[in-house]
Structure formats: structure tokens, C-alpha cells
């Protein structure tokens, strides 16, 4: 099975359980509001830049800080063990428990212990581990895995939880949340008092004093580390920071982003073992009455991550789960599909280092690269960048193992990068589709193997005549002006939506701009880049530089933001380090502007009106493309242009910035997941009461228009350029 097929299989299983997306969907909405309120009291951008700097510095100085941490901890009597891998850490903790005659272990939440499979190991030795965090306890009793790093059983209903309680306690428990919480308190209190060992994780470790900092809301962390006579703290090297004061930005943002609190209820600084509790000096425990603290410092791939320039920033993670909470696809499939043992996108990104590339290949498929997580991450981690880097390495490995699927490779590595083959293929498609389209421009159902493409939305037909055949190489301005641009159309506009291209040209010409349309242009290579075919993407980057360079336009203008990102950001990266191309790539990037940005920023449009005054206005909403909003950081120019249109009245969506689920190949490969994301978008559109949806990207247009058509909705979807051109008519 290819990784795509395996992902489809897993996603289908998750989609069959509506509880997951209902819970996560509702949570996603509540989370957004609560988080915004919690963050309102701080300067978010300033604080997260501070957190970022602190983590960068700490990871840079890690060898020195780790030494300092170990020395300081030993000074207060802690026994420190440095474990290279899961096996060593498990063996150390298991042997210690056995040597001390421990039969029962209580644990506060530790994701590292999940990472190494500690519970299994202890059980094999005949030692009983009990999770003390309520959510983790429920998961443990259910014999399941957490699906979310902050709320482990978010995928379960209270009825399901009551079932778990009934089974664990051996009596009928009704699905009453406060009752269940009280029962858990009683049940676990008993365990705290009789356990011989407490195992905790750590949110932060402090080099200067050898302290571990643990945050919990329930208070289990303090009991686990105070009551049992032995405390083992299990943590990765990545948690170490220089001093307690350096924890400021971390603590300030963690609770606000994770649970929308100003601070977690208990923030505990543990520096050595401060004696054993008299009340809990247990019968079976043979150890010292003063107690012991052990710290197990785990590598398990962390040093390799630090040495890997592409993945180092994954070590800056503070495990707030924001990246999962805002992720459109996580909210559909949940953490059992999007994640391995660590959940969500950060889980997918670190999995290769902890659990191998084999385990990582499938979960990462869940990312459709909308970049919502980048803005939500308090450590400014560029997760989608790492997803693309992962894909690159996975593709390389598949090449070596000859696992790549023929057609996909043929398309991405041979047809797409060759302008003549690519355009030939599209012309063939334009002819072959005739029996299906019978002249229409919309395909509601495709047959056979293509059926998947129209499962959630209608598809546009390939244009009978692409833009390149419809317009000349030079399209002069309506009036005399020295302004000129080079139009980069993008495949979608050229081959599927030439009318958008014509609208762009019309508006530019009307504004006194001469448009050059070099016919040598072809695909920018984005599909290859996003799917990890770096070598192909690199070749295509150079092809595009050569095609656009000689064209005399002052600026290169696109009306397709994802391709705009390719020209502005990815192409310079792809040719970086190649002295013959680096400068040319940068020059192209510097010349490129999005259509709206050009109109507003360069031509100074945005004031006044476009079109005839009308007595009654049509309600219109604007859908931000992920690439425009977060990739190019453009939100205002589009809105300014829309407000100029006399015919329309702009009504904002209540969930600005949510992805529509297009994601290029994603919605082709995984229509069911993309379809759920789309459904949410359409519901938000409906709530505005708009009759027209304006977009700045033809990809979003394809997705949203197709979804509305499939549902027989009368709502229209138009590119901003079309609306402007229409106002000129």
C-alpha cells in the first residue's frame, strides 16, 4: 500500500466516527475565542518572539546547559541518568523500581513516557503504573492512546467515559461529569497514598539550579512528586533553559495558548527530593525515609534533531497543542490519524526522530499546508516548512526503495516540468473531456478512476482555449502610460479559468498598465515542491526564471497567491547556493507582486469607487486564501478593492482565515477530509447571507464554487479581478 492509500484508509476510519469531528469542531470554535481573549492581555507577537529567542539560545547552548543542569541537580542530591534511547530509559526506571520493591507507580502526565512506552515496560516487570491525570487515566483504563496532547480524550463523549468508569470501578457510573471527577479523586487518592514511586515529566528544566518545572491544573503533579518516597522525573534534553527567569515567556504563553488560562493552576519548581511524606511512607517500600529523586534525561533522537538544520526548530516546542487546535484537517481526523504517538502536526514532524521515518510517512499526509499553525505557534515554529522538508526525504527514500507510484512520479517528475508535454497533456484532456462536458464548463460527476475528483465538488472543465491562445504577448494600456507588468498566469488561470486572466488584463489595461504575457511561461513547480519533489521543483524554478526574465514588465504580477509564494519565497530558496541562479531567483522574487497588492500598493487604488452607484447593494463576503493571508501577508488590499465596488456590500466571515480545504493535490488525493473542511467553510459563508463570495485565488474558487454547485446553491464565487472587470463594463 502506498502512503497515500494508507492515509486514506486511516482517515476513512476516523471519518466514520462523527464524534471526533463534532468534538474537535466545537472545540476549535470555542478555543479560538477563548484563546483570543486570554492573549488580549499580552503583546502576543512580542512575547512569542521572546520565547523563540530564549529557546533558540537554549538549544544552541545545550551541551553547556545540559552539563550545568546535571551538576546542579547532583548538588541537591538528585541521581541523574542520561539515557541515549527508549530502551535505556525504560531499563533504568524498571530496574530502579524493582530494586526498591515498588509494586505501584503513580504518574503525572508525561508525554516522554508515552514516547518510550514506559507503561508497557513496567507492566512486563509486574509493576502497575497508574496515570493520575484524569484524561490520561481515562485513556489508560480504556486501553487507548491520547488523541490530543493537552486533552487526551477529547475524542470521547461523556457517555463513553462513563462506560470506562463503570468498567474500571466495577459498578455502574452515570455520565455525570462532576460525579465522575469526584470518583476519580477518591480512586486516585488511594493510589497516591500507597504508591512506592511517582513518575513525572517536566515542562521546563533549569540549568542553573537543577530544578524541574511541572505545570498541572488538577494538582496531580504535586501529589505524584510529594507523596511517594521516590520521584523519577523523565524528560528530554530539549526542556533545559538557563535560569528560572528564562521561563517567563514560556509560562506566560503556555497556559494562554493551551487552555486559555492566564497561568496553569499549579506551576511547581522541584529541586531535589524534600523528604518523604509520613502519611505515605508505604508498607511495601523498603527505601530511605528521606526519599530519593532521580532524573532521567533522554536523548532518543533529540541531539540528532538539534544537529539537523531543517528540523532543529522542532525542539523549541512547548507542547501547547495550538497547532492541532487550529488545524483544519486535525479537526476532521483527530490525533490518531494526524500523529503517531505524539499527536498533531508537531507530532508528525518529530516522529521520524523518535520513532523512525517509516512511522512518520503516513501521518504527515494530513497537512494541506494552510499555515494556520504557524501563526498559532507561540514558539513561531514553521511546521509546514518542516512538513515539506519531510516529504522531500520521504520521496528520496521511496525512490531508493522503488516504492513511489508510477503515475504520480510520471506526472510530477516528467510531465509537469516539461512545458510542451504538460500543455500537450492538457490539450489532450480538453479534447477527451468533450463527451463528458458536451460544451459545458462544469463537470458535476467524473467517471471511473476520476470520480474521486468530483466527490465533494464539481470540477471545472479544461478550457477549450487556454489563456495563452486567447491573448497576445503584449496587451497595451488603454491610455498612454509608462507602466507595464509581466503577467504570470498560473496553470489554473491559463488552463481552467482563462476568463480570470482576461479580467486581470482588462483591469490592468484600464488602469493604464501595459501587460506582457510571455508565452514561454509554464507551471511554477509548486505541486512538485509541496509534494517533496525538490529536484523537479528546482528544475522548474530555473525554467520559470528563464521564461520571465526577458519580459520587460516592471513587475511580475500574479493573481494566484500560492504561485506568488512560489515566485517570492520558494524559488529563491530552491536556487540558493547556486551562484549562477541565486541572484536571478532573488531578482524574480523582488519583482513579483500579487494583483491586489499591485493595484493598491503601486497604482494607489483603494480610494473612491468602481462602478455605477446603485440604490441597493448585493451582500458579498470575502474568503482569504491561506497563501494570500498567511503566505503573502495580504489582507487589506483585497478588502480595499472590494469596498470600492459600488454594487456590493462586504460582510466578513465569522471565521476569517479558515482554509477552504483545497490544498492543491490534497483535495484530489483526500476528498473526504477536504470535503469536511469545505463543509465548514460553506456553512460560514451561509451564515453571512452573502450572494457572492469573492476570492483572490483560483484554487479557492475551484473548491468553493465546486462545493456550492454540488449543493445546488445559487451563491456565486468570483475572483476579485472578475468583479473589478465587471464594474468597468
Amino acid at each position: 500500500m502506498t502512503r497515500q492509500e494508507e492515509f486514506r484508509r486511516r482517515a476513512a476510519a476516523a471519518l466514520a466516527n462523527p464524534r471526533i469531528r463534532d468534538n474537535l469542531g466545537r472545540f476549535g470554535i470555542a478555543y479560538g475565542t477563548a484563546r483570543r481573549n486570554a492573549l488580549a492581555v499580552v503583546d502576543y507577537e512580542k512575547e512569542r518572539a521572546r520565547l523563540r529567542r530564549m529557546k533558540e539560545d537554549a538549544i544552541e547552548r545545550l551541551p553547556e546547559l545540559a552539563r550545568q543542569f546535571v551538576e546542579a541537580a547532583r548538588r541537591v542530591g538528585v541521581i541523574v541518568y542520561e539515557a541515549k534511547n527508549a530502551e535505556e530509559a525504560n531499563r533504568y526506571i524498571g530496574d530502579l523500581a524493582r530494586a526498591k520493591g515498588v509494586e505501584l507507580v503513580v504518574k503525572s502526565k508525561s508525554m516522554v513516557s508515552e514516547e518510550i512506552g514506559l507503561n508497557h515496560h513496567l507492566e512486563r516487570l509486574g509493576i502497575t503504573p497508574v496515570e493520575a491525570d484524569l484524561g490520561e487515566w481515562i485513556i489508560q483504563q480504556a486501553g487507548a492512546h491520547p488523541s490530543h496532547s493537552v486533552m487526551p480524550c477529547i475524542h470521547m463523549s461523556k457517555e463513553e467515559v462513563a462506560g470506562v468508569f463503570s468498567k474500571a470501578l466495577g459498578r455502574e457510573v452515570s455520565p455525570d461529569v462532576s460525579l465522575m471527577v469526584r470518583l476519580a479523586r477518591e480512586e486516585l487518592r488511594e493510589k497516591f497514598l500507597s504508591a512506592g514511586m511517582g513518575i513525572s515529566g517536566a515542562n521546563i528544566a533549569v540549568a542553573e539550579t537543577g530544578s524541574v518545572i511541572i505545570v498541572t491544573n488538577e494538582g496531580n503533579g504535586r501529589l505524584v512528586t510529594s507523596l511517594p518516597p521516590i520521584h523519577v522525573a523523565l524528560l528530554g534534553y530539549d526542556k533545559i533553559v538557563p535560569t528560572i527567569e528564562d521561563a517567563a515567556a514560556h509560562l506566560k504563553l503556555l497556559a494562554k495558548t493551551a487552555t486559555a488560562q492566564h497561568l496553569t493552576v499549579y506551576t511547581t519548581f522541584i529541586t531535589g527530593k524534600t523528604g518523604a511524606a509520613a502519611v505515605a511512607r508505604p508498607r511495601e517500600f523498603r527505601g530511605a525515609a528521606t526519599g530519593e529523586m532521580h532524573i532521567v534525561l533522554l536523548d532518543n533522537g533529540r541531539w540528532a534533531m538539534r544537529d539537523d538544520a531543517e528540523f532543529r526548530e522542532a525542539l523549541y516546542c512547548v507542547r501547547c497543542a495550538s497547532c492541532a487546535n487550529v488545524c483544519p484537517t486535525y479537526r476532521v481526523v483527530g490525533g490518531h490519524v494526524f500523529g503517531h504517538i505524539y499527536t498533531g502536526v508537531i507530532g508528525a514532524v518529530i516522529t521520524p526522530f523518535h520513532h523512525g521515518w517509516e512511522a512518520a510517512a503516513v501521518p504527515q499526509e494530513a497537512c494541506l499546508l494552510c499555515r494556520a499553525c504557524v501563526d498559532a505557534c507561540p514558539a513561531e515554529i514553521d511546521l509546514p516548512r518542516m512538513i515539506v522538508a519531510m516529504r522531500g526525504r520521504i520521496v528520496e527514500q521511496e525512490e531508493q526503495q522503488k516504492k513511489a507510484k508510477g503515475i504520480r512520479r510520471l506526472f510530477l517528475d516528467a510531465i509537469l516540468p516539461s512545458p510542451s508535454l504538460f500543455h500537450l497533456a492538457l490539450r489532450l484532456a480538453a479534447v477527451m473531456q468533450l463527451p463528458l462536458t458536451r460544451g459545458r464548463t462544469i463537470l458535476r460527476e467524473l467517471p471511473g478512476p476520476l470520480k474521486r475528483l468530483t466527490r465533494i465538488r464539481a470540477m471545472p472543465a479544461v478550457a477549450a482555449r487556454p489563456l495563452r491562445s486567447r491573448v497576445a504577448e503584449v496587451l497595451p494600456a488603454r491610455r498612454d502610460s509608462s507602466r507595464s507588468v509581466t503577467f504570470f498566469a498560473s496553470c489554473l488561470i491559463d488552463q481552467f479559468y482563462p476568463e480570470i486572466g482576461e479580467a486581470v488584463i482588462k483591469v490592468l489595461n484600464h488602469c493604464g498598465v501595459t501587460v506582457h504575457f510571455p508565452k514561454a511561461q509554464s507551471c511554477c513547480g509548486l505541486p512538485a515542491y509541496y509534494e517533496g519533489h525538490k529536484e523537479t521543483a528546482g528544475r522548474m524554478a530555473k525554467g520559470l526564471i528563464v521564461a520571465l526574465e526577458p519580459s520587460p514588465g516592471e513587475h511580475v504580477v500574479t493573481a494566484t497567491p500560492p504561485c506568488g509564494i512560489t515566485l517570492k519565497q520558494y524559488i529563491p530558496k530552491l536556487v540558493k547556493g547556486d551562484p549562477r541562479w541565486e541572484g536571478r531567483g532573488q531578482a524574480l522574487a523582488a519583482r513579483t507582486l500579487d494583483f491586489s497588492e499591485y493595484l493598491v500598493g503601486v497604482l494607489g487604488l483603494g480610494e473612491g469607487t468602481f462602478g455605477e452607484p446603485t440604490p441597493h447593494k448585493v451582500p458579498l463576503t470575502y474568503h482569504d486564501s491561506c497563501s494570500g493571508l498567511r503566505g503573502l501577508r495580504l489582507a487589506e488590499p483585497q478588502r480595499r478593492l472590494l469596498r470600492m465596488l459600488t454594487r456590493y456590500e462586504l460582510r466578513e466571515l465569522d471565521e476569517i482565515g479558515e482554509c477552504c480545504g483545497f490544498g492543491g493535490h490534497f483535495s484530489m488525493d483526500y476528498p473526504d477530509v477536504a470535503g469536511e473542511v469545505l463543509t465548514r467553510k460553506l456553512a460560514a459563508i451561509e451564515r453571512t447571507g452573502a450572494q457572492v463570495v469573492a476570492v483572490d485565488s483560483p484554487g479557492c474558487l475551484l473548491q468553493i464554487r465546486g462545493g456550492l454547485l454540488k449543493r445546488h446553491s445559487p451563491v456565486q464565487v468570483r475572483h476579485i479581478a472578475e468583479l473589478l472587470a465587471e464594474a468597468l463594463a
Binding site: G219, T274, M293
Partner: protein, 214 residues
């Protein structure tokens, strides 16, 4: 110990600066601590606090209260007040109380206004358990030990821990921000999981000793 002295100097400066803005810091502290679910009361006369605790116990049908030490109980006139209310008192970390007492009475070392937290620095484990096991935790906090920002709170925390650490002494310090809570089941906020269900903070008059002095 130049490092410790340097940190201590900064703590002292913070305390001096905080004293000049005390009333605004205090009102911020009260607002934030209550927002986190704590109950804050001004106690002009410490001797009256005992009666407040007794009233609390009586109202909730509580029969056993425990305080970390006899000095604290005397300062609050706790014993007399509780006798009057028919509530038993245990002082010191005696096993008679721990695990049974429904009210634990302890001091707090400092407060942090920005987050509404109290800093509980109790290295003696059995005393510390009084902030964890009972249903109700009552904390006594001197007004002039409240600092404004999270950063200042961490500076103080660093100082307290560093002081012990440099002498090879273990330590255990918690910031407590409201009562224990969970939202693990269907995200329904529920108060009182493993820790206290209620947190009562009594603000005592200034001690005038500076923060973190022991």
C-alpha cells in the same frame, strides 16, 4: 557568592519598587486571583482570621482543620475560634491530621499580581501536603509580599531556589493560581480534582520584612 548576592539585590529593588505602588498591585492581585477562582479577603486584624476560618468550616460542616505550625495558629487566634465553632484543630505536620483534615492552613511566601498566584514555598513535605490534600486550602499572605509581574515573581522564585541550591539543600516551591480544576471530560470545567476545591487567601497587614526573607 556574588551570583546570589546579585540576584538578592534585584529582589530587594523589586520589593522597594513594589511598595511604592502597593495599592495598585494589590487590586490587580485580588482581581486576578478571583478570576482564577480564588477567594481573597483583606484581614486588617490577623486575630480575626481565626473566626473567619471557623465560620467557613462551620458553614460547610467541616470538623477537622490543620495548620502548619503553632505560631501560625496563635497569630490567627485559630484555636479559640475553632473551639467555639466545635471544630478540631491539629497543628504541625502530624499524621493525625494529614489525609483527614478538610481545611489546611498555611502561609504563602509571596503573591504575583499579574497572574493572581500565591507562591507556596514549603520544603517540609508534610506541611506542604496541607496545600494539596484537604478540600479547602487557606493561605495567609502579607500584603507587602505581592509583586506585580510574572517576571518579578520568577526573579523571586529564582532567588529562593538558588539560595537553597547553592547550599546543597533541596527545595519545593509552587505557584498556586486558583483551586484545582480539570476540563478533561467533554471540556466541562470541573473544580477540585486532585487538589483543593476551594482556595481562600487572607491578605495580612505588611510584615515589613521584605520578600523571601526567612
Amino acid at each position: 557568592m556574588p551570583l546570589l548576592r546579585h540576584v538578592e539585590e534585584r529582589v530587594y529593588q523589586t520589593w522597594e519598587a513594589s511598595r511604592r505602588r502597593q495599592s495598585s498591585i494589590l487590586s490587580r492581585f485580588v482581581a486576578e486571583a478571583e478570576r482564577a477562582g480564588g477567594v481573597v479577603r483583606q484581614a486588617v486584624d490577623p486575630q480575626a482570621v481565626g473566626f473567619s476560618i471557623a465560620a467557613l468550616a462551620k458553614a460547610q460542616g467541616i470538623t477537622l482543620c490543620q495548620a502548619t505550625d503553632g505560631d501560625l495558629a496563635r497569630e490567627l487566634n485559630l484555636e479559640a475560634a475553632l473551639i467555639e465553632a466545635g471544630v478540631s484543630l491539629v497543628t504541625g505536620p502530624s499524621p493525625d491530621g494529614i489525609g483527614h483534615a478538610e481545611i489546611g492552613v498555611t502561609r504563602a511566601t509571596a503573591g504575583v499580581a499579574e497572574t493572581g498566584s500565591i507562591v507556596v514555598h514549603l520544603d517540609e513535605v508534610d506541611a506542604r501536603l496541607l496545600t494539596m490534600l484537604p478540600e479547602i486550602h487557606v493561605a495567609l499572605l502579607h500584603q507587602d509580599t505581592v509583586v506585580d509581574s510574572l517576571e518579578e515573581g520568577l526573579l523571586l522564585t529564582r532567588y529562593l531556589i538558588l539560595r537553597s541550591c547553592l547550599q546543597g539543600r533541596p527545595s519545593y516551591l509552587s505557584w498556586v493560581t486558583g483551586p484545582s480544576r480539570t476540563a478533561d471530560i467533554e471540556r466541562v470545567l470541573t473544580i477540585g480534582v486532585h487538589g483543593p476545591r476551594q482556595l481562600h487567601i487572607f491578605l495580612l497587614p505588611p510584615a515589613g520584612k521584605g520578600i523571601g526573607s526567612s
